[in-house]
Amino acid sequence: MSSSIQSQGTAEVHPDVLLVERARQGDMAAFEKLVRQYERQVFRIAQHIVQNREDAEDVVQDAFLKAYEKLDQFQGNSKFYTWLVRIAVNEALMRLRKRRTGKMVSIDEDVETEEGSVPRDLADWSPDPEAMYGQSEMADILRKTIQGLPPGFRVVFVLRDVEGLSTEETAESLGLSIPAVKSRLLRARLQLRERLARYFRKRDARSSQDGAK
């Protein structure tokens, strides 16, 4: 107990901050530890945005390289991971833009849609939807469904709900306000729910609805 009381009074230094400090002084092994720690997450986030493996690999490499080059700019008032995610998200959006031959891609794209902001599919789901599909079929359904969201919703859902960043960290990573993150998150969740309903609805409910059409 006494140690927890003590630690309330002193700001704890995140281990990443020490690694960044060492990396800044040229300690490559320290930077490599940071890469090891976060390469998997950054790859997942990148792939959710760019939606193909080759581009995601490039994004991960470019993001870590940029982070390495900009280590001096890391202030330490946010987590290193949040800072790194911000770099990776920007790299991924740039990559998407390139692929679309110059068409603007931003996290504000298509977020004005009203789709899914009010629940429409009100049928209950099967009690255990995951038992309705095999592992790989389920993964296909989930990928296809999330890929249908506008990037600005997708990335908020992925950071907040899949990767487990806090609302504040998500806002910081994306350069969005907290209310903007909250509003996008709710709509992303509702849109995904709406789209998954067609797969997970109770079988009898689906057949009765089909019959009503």
Binding site: M28, F31, E32, V35, R36, E39, R40, F43, R44, Q47, H48, R53, A56, E57, V60, Q61, F64, L65, Y68, E69, V118, P119, L122, A123, D124, W125, P129, E130, M138, A139, L142, R143, I146, F157, D161, V162, K182, L185, L186, R189, L190, L192, R193, L196, A197, F200
Partner: protein, 77 residues
């Protein structure tokens, strides 16, 4: 409480610890509104399913290749 008022608080309900009971007025609405109950439960399920499935795995061999490429780039700069 109307459904619109209930939905306005959906995020808070989803983000709180699922073991914590909801506020009394929310609980009361849920008891009388099947649609909101379904919306809350299926949205929870949506999040849980996405959390529990690794959609983009990074196999060990690819991870190693990627790791080496990252470090090589950084060492060069």
């Amino acid at each position: 409480m109307t459904c619109t008022e209930f939905l306005a608080q959906l995020d808070d309900m989803l983000d709180q610890d699922w073991a914590i009971p909801l506020r009394a007025d929310l609980e009361e609405h849920l008891r009388s509104c099947e649609h909101c109950e379904i919306t809350l439960n299926t949205t929870r399920k949506t999040i849980q399913i996405y959390r529990s499935h690794e959609l983009y795995e990074l196999p060990d061999d690819l991870r190693e290749r990627l790791h080496r490429a990252i470090m090589a780039k950084c060492r060069k700069c």
